[in-house]
């Protein structure tokens, strides 16, 4: 293969377009089968066994939760629980839906709900996402269709977790087959049942004909949904264009541009709660660095042309963010100190800080290499040389916690929780992830987290976020939109929770 | 005979561990089996025997390239192990069979001949060059070949270079392992003439290993006959060719095809099977092939017995104890 000459290129484009039409024509509305490309394998559909997004997506198909959180409005709605009531700050009563059966015919009742909560919050289950269950003290059966949940401490986010990932398992079946058996033949009460699992390759879901009506989630619309693991995004695109799959997501900006022109495909963008940011080692844990100097941090903030990156590299729908949280989260103060793109000012600040000729540092990155490269390019323009260290997330995080990292480019999805306690508090409240160790900020955040009064909380968070911005601990970057591409016959609506809801999807 | 032998082997043995193939374990091969041999100053001792009988192993022991498993090597009556490698190298030098592989193809002739002088740091570098040229004269090579690479020379010329290298340090003993068997007859005679004249001029002592008995008869004063790791007979050349004592020596001599038409090819009476050296026959190692084997040959190994001109290991020998 050599370099493509112009005529060939155009011919290729023509073939491509023609072929694509043929490919999508064969898309399987007719056979009522939707094939979906996922870049990671669903290692388990048991949401307690995994913290991965793929597991969560699959478990949403298979299982119901007590509470449903509407992906569009963020409102909580009844699902397996029909109504709930806070008895006090640590006691939650829930009335359960009657007449629901699991996919194997086992009827659902309080036994199942209480068992699930008790078992998976206990030590025996070795639940991987401990933070989603460790707030539960116990669950108690009050009536055959009513349970009471005891919390260890007041926990505002309890409903969030009850909506996801706490899926309700059939007690009898689970106790019979155990972890191993459940792994290969999971049973839930959700709209789809996994009928065939080819390890590493596909999972086939078939609509559950007996799915209960009356909940917030409607009955399944598509007969069969196949999850295909295609690790290479490139291959996903190839399959998408040739009709091998009808749905793919997390598509890059340039590819999306290319796909937008293709007949038969819909390309949609949706903002998520994920934000990107740079964190700088301001406290100097692990040794003195230039970044302990406020002027340097400000210079870095001024040096990065965030708008240009958002315009050119980030998929459409991204917003620049001024403060250390997702703008729509409760308590996310927007009126904070901002740093416009101003390389001259950055240079001046660097000179003031004693680095007229700039300096070098190691830049830890775990994803989105092009963005990182663009940031490196911007920093180079003011004389700062960033040496990219592209590593696994775990490695970067280790480095951060041990103080071995100077600057890291990170993202945060807040577990799709619309509250600053799930974002800012995570990083500035004195935990292991708090590398700044700003006692004042930590105190404000603690105050905000512990209160149930919105006004008090808001005020406390505002103070914290203003200081974070003034100190330029972070360079808040932008929100992360996801780009989806799917067959135009598909009626799919992207949501901001980073969870494609196939159970809500239908054909046009 | 008051002078001690310039080189002496005393009951020298050498064993090898030999792999017998993929599926089997290793076996012990006794390539040289309690060999005692003396090399007198100024003589040419011929060593003859079939391939695989241990001739080459013996020569490597003499050169110090292989340590003997048992026994002693003495130079001028002193054990060899006491002398260091370099001292031995100054006195004993080899000439090999294959003039194509015995010269480093990447070096020119003068470098090759000068190598011993360099290694032993003999003389100043300028003297070395002179000595190299002298040595080339000595072996009858024109001085202009000094700048040639071996690849440009004929087999005979290469063998002369190899001899020149061996002579560069003026050693006393040359171990010549089949020095002419890779050469054409017309070249062979030139090299043999050279060896003879060098011996006269320099008073060299030779150990001449050869399977060509005509060559041995022509050059050697004494001959040692080797069979399956043992010296079965030692004798003065003339005596051996006239009246060999050991049946193997006789068979060997009978097999020599001299260029005399009309004599036909003799039947040696030896069987076809050369014994497996890893599993040597009991008693006299030669008995399975010996046309005159007796019962005792199968069970007992004959002792060496002196003869008027040497010694022999055979139960048939009248001198046998």
């Amino acid at each position: 293969m050599t370099i493509q000459r112009d005529p060939t290129l155009r011919a290729a484009a023509a073939i491509l377009a023609a072929g694509l039409a043929a490919g999508t024509a064969a898309a399987d509305k007719a056979s009522d089968t939707l094939t979906v490309a996922l870049d990671m394998e669903v290692e388990t559909m048991n949401p307690y066994q995994s913290t991965s997004r793929m597991s969560l997506i699959a478990s949403k198909m298979m299982f119901d939760t007590l509470v449903w959180r509407d992906p569009k409005t963020g409102e909580f709605a009844p699902m397996l629980a029909t109504e709930w009531e806070w008895v006090d700050a640590t006691t939650l009563d829930m009335r359960l839906r009657e007449g629901v059966t699991f996919q194997n015919g086992e009827p659902f009742d309080a036994e199942d709900a209480a068992f699930t909560l008790n078992f998976f919050s206990g030590p025996e289950a070795k639940t991987k996402g401990q933070s989603s269950v460790d707030w539960i003290e116990s669950a108690e059966i009050l009536e055959p269709f009513k349970i009471r949940i005891h919390l260890k401490a007041p926990f505002p986010a309890a409903l969030e977790f009850l909506a996801s990932p706490i899926a309700i398992f059939p007690k009898d079946y689970f106790e019979k087959v155990g972890f191993e058996g459940f792994e290969t033949a999971p049973i839930g009460s959700g709209p789809y049942q996994a009928t065939e699992i080819v390890k590493g390759e596909t999972i086939t879901f078939v609509a559950n004909p007996n799915y209960f009506t009356g909940g917030a989630r409607p009955a399944p619309k598509i007969g069969k949904i196949v999850f295909r693991t295609i690790p290479d995004l490139n291959t996903q695109l190839a399959e998408l264009m040739t009709g091998g799959v009808e749905w793919a997501w997390r598509i890059g900006k340039d590819e999306a541009e290319g796909l937008r022109g293709m007949p038969g495909l819909t390309v949609a963008d949706a903002e998520t709660m994920r934000i990107g940011y740079l964190t700088m080692n301001a406290a100097g844990t692990g040794g003195e660095t230039p970044f302990t100097n406020l002027k340097v941090r400000q210079a870095v903030s001024h040096a990065i042309n965030r708008q240009a990156i958002v315009d050119n590299l980030v998929p459409p729908g991204a917003r620049l963010i001024p403060s250390a949280c997702f703008p729509d989260q409760f308590g996310c103060e927007q009126d904070v100190a901002t740093y416009d793109y101003d390389p001259e000012k950055a240079k001046a600040l660097l000179a003031e800080a004693g680095y007229p000729d700039g300096f070098e540092f190691t830049f830890d990155v775990y994803r989105d290499r092009p963005y990182a490269e663009a940031i490196i390019g911007d920093l180079a323009k003011v004389g700062i040389k960033a040496n990219l260290n592209f590593a696994k997330y775990a490695t970067v995080r280790d480095a951060l916690r041990s103080g071995g990292s100077q600057v890291a480019f990170l993202t945060w999805g807040s577990n799709s929780i619309g509250d600053v306690s799930a974002s800012t508090s995570n990083f500035f409240k004195g935990s292991a992830d708090d590398t700044y160790k700003d006692a004042e900020v930590a105190a404000w955040l603690t105050e905000g987290d512990a209160s149930v009064d919105p006004a008090v909380r808001k005020a406390a968070y505002s103070k914290a976020l203003k200081k974070i911005a003034a100190e330029a601990y972070w360079v808040p970057l932008w929100t992360y939109p996801y780009t989806y591409a799917f067959s135009e016959e598909l009626d799919f609506t992207p949501t901001s929770d980073e969870l494609p809801h196939f159970a809500l999807t239908g054909w046009k | 005979m008051s002078e001690p032998p310039v080189l002496e082997l005393r009951a020298v043995s050498r064993e090898f561990r030999v792999s017998r193939g993929l599926m089997r374990g290793k076996a012990t091969l006794r390539a040289v089996d309690e060999v005692s041999l003396q090399l007198r100053r100024g003589e040419a001792l011929g060593l003859v025997g079939e391939s695989g009988c241990g001739k080459t192993t013996l020569s490597r022991i003499l050169l110090g390239l292989l340590p003997p498993t048992k026994g002693e090597v003495l130079v001028d009556g002193a054990p060899l192990s006491a002398k260091d490698r370099k001292a031995r190298a100054r006195r004993i030098q080899p000439v090999f069979q294959d003039p194509y592989s015995s010269l480093n193809p990447r070096k020119i002739v003068s470098e090759i001949v000068a190598t011993p002088l360099d290694v032993h740091e003999i003389g100043a570098p300028a003297d070395r060059a002179k000595r190299v040229l002298q040595t080339l004269d000595m072996v009858g090579l024109p001085r202009r070949v000094a700048e040639s690479y071996p690849g440009q020379m004929s087999g005979g010329q290469r063998q002369r270079v190899a001899i020149a290298r061996a002579l560069a340090m003026r050693p006393e003993i040359l171990i010549c392992d089949e020095p002419t068997s890779a050469l054409d007859v017309s070249v062979q005679s030139q090299i043999l003439n050279l060896l003879l004249s060098l011996q006269k001029e320099l008073g060299l002592t030779y150990l001449l290993i050869s399977h060509n008995l005509a060559v041995v008869e022509h050059i050697a004063n004494r001959v040692a006959v080797m069979y399956l790791g043992r010296i079965v007979e030692v004798s003065d050349t003339a005596a051996l060719f006239r009246d060999a004592r050991h049946p193997y020596s006789r068979a060997l001599l009978a097999s020599v095809l001299t260029p005399e038409p009309g004599l036909g090819v003799p039947d040696t009476g030896l069987g076809g099977a050369y014994p497996n050296p890893m599993d040597p026959p009991t008693g006299c190692a030669f008995h399975p092939r010996c046309p005159r084997a007796m019962g005792v040959c199968r069970s007992r190994r004959p002792e060496a017995a002196p003869t008027p001109t040497g010694r022999v290991e055979c139960h048939l020998s009248p001198e046998a104890p």
């Binding site: 991987k128 191993e180 792994e183 295909r228 693991t229 264009m241 091998g244 | 599926m23």
Partner: protein, 305 residues
């Protein structure tokens, strides 16, 4: 026979032991699995708990010998991510890798051996030059690039072959080509060189002097002897194909051990990687032994002394 096998087995055990120890240390040093399991929202306490749960807070040497002891009794441990025994994971995915590797080898051999033989029969002929150019071009082609081009041209532009997955035989064709073409030049060269050497050998001259037909000389007398080094090379290449299919398996979305190793490494699922490394080492050594045995069958000089 037995002695040989025992010695090779001893070597295999020693190599496997060394490989496992080295990779154990390397892998543990390369990241903290506990952090990876806990996910991005985990707290320090979560991580510590996980570390303790999985025994990751014990001294490294103890962890290793613990693992080794289990491995010796056939238990390779559990994947932390999949929460399944590593041996199950491997046995689920090995068939895909082996199938692709075997097809790749088949592709390489069926292309290279006839070509090598033809080239050897007529040195400097057009077919020889063609073979040589194929070899040189093939060896210069980066395999990931070649795989992408295959996807682009055969999969997207021409739509000849399915792009990814394992549904049908056709699914395996592109991966097998992408994996096998790199081995083709080496096998072809060796076949050619071996054939040329054998054809010049004295026993081929003897065979001709016996008045045997050309086909008989070629296939009975020449090919068998020329095949000996080729078999060893093919075995080695097969071993490399099994371990070298990471890129290919990712691009073609094949659920094989290569991709399993890759994702497991990325999220520090050591037990899995450890198990795969051990398995690959054992397979590699076994292949070498099998090649030896096969060569012993081909060449009686090795078999009997």
């Amino acid at each position: 026979m037995l002695g040989f096998l025992v010695r090779r087995l001893a070597l295999a055990v020693l190599v496997a032991f060394t490989v496992s120890a080295v990779s154990f240390v390397l892998l543990r040093a390369s990241g903290d699995v506990a952090v990876a399991i806990a996910g991005e929202s985990a707290t320090e306490a979560d991580i510590a708990a996980i570390r303790h749960q999985y025994g990751l807070d014990r001294p490294l040497a103890i962890q290793y010998f613990d693992w080794l002891g289990n491995a010796l009794s056939g238990d390779l441990g559990r994947s932390i991510f999949f929460n399944t025994p590593v041996s199950d994971l491997i046995s689920e995915r090995l068939p895909v890798t082996v199938a692709v590797g075997a097809l790749a080898l088949l592709f390489a051999v069926t292309l290279s051996v006839p070509l090598g033989v033809a080239a050897a029969l007529r040195p400097n002929s057009p077919i020889d030059h063609l073979a040589m150019w194929l070899a040189v071009l093939g060896q210069a082609m980066p395999s990931f690039w070649f795989a992408l081009l295959l996807v682009l041209v055969l999969g997207v532009w021409w739509r000849l072959l399915p792009i990814s997955g394992t549904g049908t035989f056709a699914h395996y064709i592109m991966p097998a080509i992408a994996l096998g073409y790199y081995a083709t030049p080496a096998i072809m060269r060796l076949t050619r060189a071996g054939m040329i050497e054998v054809l010049q050998s004295d026993y081929i001259r003897t065979a001709r002097a016996k008045g045997l037909g050309t086909g008989r000389i070629l296939f009975k007398h020449a090919l068998r002897n020329a095949a000996i080094p080729v078999v060893a090379l093919a075995a080695v290449q097969f071993g490399f194909m099994l371990s070298g299919s990471i890129v290919i398996e990712s691009i073609f979305a094949l659920p094989g051990v290569g991709h399993l190793a890759w994702i497991s490494l990325q999220r520090s699922d050591f037990t899995v990687v450890q198990g795969i490394v051990l398995m690959l080492a054992v397979i590699y050594i076994c292949l070498a032994v099998v090649a030896d045995l096969f060569n012993a069958w081909l060449d009686p000089r090795i078999r009997v002394s």
